[in-house]
């Protein structure tokens, strides 16, 4: 009976999806509306070259703010669910060769993440991708060196501090936008340098930095609270 029901649901959903997708006309994404505006206005209105970054952090920056709120709510929920008395049971880590090799490699991972965050308006990348690479450093510390090393280097209070700093940086740029341009998260034209150089694109660079810190610290807190073992009640 259950197999029969599953087959019926699958067949019905697949047929409906396929019929509806086939009826979408080829000119569904009308190129003379929003996307044409974005394409034409990206250099003159924001100073950034990467159109995806310009949409995410300038034209639709309020959307990104809501997305940061979703990450904050997820981190809060996970920490609340796992908030028993926990004991950070640490493994001894892997062998000496692996530890030394990652001692060489980890600064380059950090450098790559900072590069991706700061060049978000010029090249592919931005706050999300660089932030997730920052969170990968926590995973490297927990797996290679054991989680007590991560606890001693970056305790959860410091991660929370970094996350709050990112969120406040985002909001602060928004309020400065109110003061300078009259609208929340507006891009002040005094900050825009020459397009194509590193100090350009106005408020996109600090928003990138804030989103990067927020996403990196949030995902690091999620991973760190997942690998903790529960303290047994005596």
């Amino acid at each position: 009976m259950k197999v029969f029901l599953t087959a019926i649901i699958l067949a019905f959903t697949g047929g409906a999806l396929f019929v509806n997708l086939g009826s979408i006309p080829d000119s569904f994404l009308l190129s003379h509306t929003a996307s044409r505006f974005y394409r034409e206005a990206v250099v003159t209105e924001t100073g950034a070259l990467n159109t995806v970054s310009a949409i995410l952090y300038d034209f639709r920056a309020f959307d990104s703010l809501g997305e940061s709120t979703v990450i904050f709510a997820t981190v809060s929920g996970i920490v609340l669910l796992l908030s028993r008395k926990t004991l950070p049971v640490s493994s001894a880590g892997l062998s000496l060769i692996v530890k030394r090799t990652f001692g060489i490699l980890t600064p380059f991972v950090f450098l790559l993440s900072v590069y991706i965050i700061l060049h978000g308006h010029l090249s592919p990348g931005g706050g999300f991708q660089g932030g997730v690479l920052l969170a990968v450093i926590t995973i490297i510390f927990c797996i290679i060196y054991g989680s007590s090393f991560d606890l001693s280097r970056y305790p959860p209070q410091r991660k929370t501090l970094i996350e709050t700093t990112g969120a406040l940086l985002f909001l602060g740029v928004g309020i400065i936008g109110i003061a300078l341009t009259g609208s929340f998260l507006g891009n002040p034209s005094a900050w825009r340098g020459v397009p194509g150089t590193l100090p350009s694109a106005g408020s996109i660079v600090p928003i990138n930095l804030g989103v990067g810190l927020k996403v990196g610290a949030g995902l690091a807190i999620i991973f760190y609270s997942m690998i903790q073992k529960t303290l047994k009640r005596q």
Binding site: L94, S95, I97, V98, T101, F102, I104, L105, F108
Partner: protein, 118 residues
């Protein structure tokens, strides 16, 4: 004459593809965990290195080529390290211990494990 570096890059990439193919055949056909790791370590590092060098010759700009060569250097460091970690964990967890005729290697393995667990 301007196409010379293109020929060199194609030759390097094709050689890298041959090494990758031999890696795949080795991983599929070898019987044991350790021999499979051997195929994945040596030939795969060689193939990745050849393909990155071939790509660096293909783009033929100074800074872009240097960036791609940096990726090759990191592959050269990290791939043997990963192989070492996998082999060490398999040895610790007694997966597919190689059976040997003489007892000395077997005894040495037991001593290693006793030393580790203590």
């Amino acid at each position: 004459m301007i196409e010379m570096h293109l020929f060199i890059s194609y030759a390097l990439i094709l050689l890298g593809c041959f090494f990758a193919l031999s890696t795949t055949i080795g991983i599929l056909r070898f019987p044991d965990l350790y021999t499979r790791i051997h195929a994945g370590a040596v030939a795969l590092t060689m193939s990745a290195l050849l393909i990155t060098v071939g790509t660096a010759v293909y783009v033929w700009e100074l800074f872009l080529s240097l960036k791609i060569l940096l990726i090759g250097v990191f592959l050269l460091i990290s791939n043997p390290m990963a192989t070492h970690a996998i082999a060490r964990v398999a040895y610790r967890h007694r997966i597919a211990i190689p059976v040997s005729r003489d007892l000395s290697s077997r005894q040495k393995f037991e001593e290693d494990n006793r030393h580790d667990s203590s």
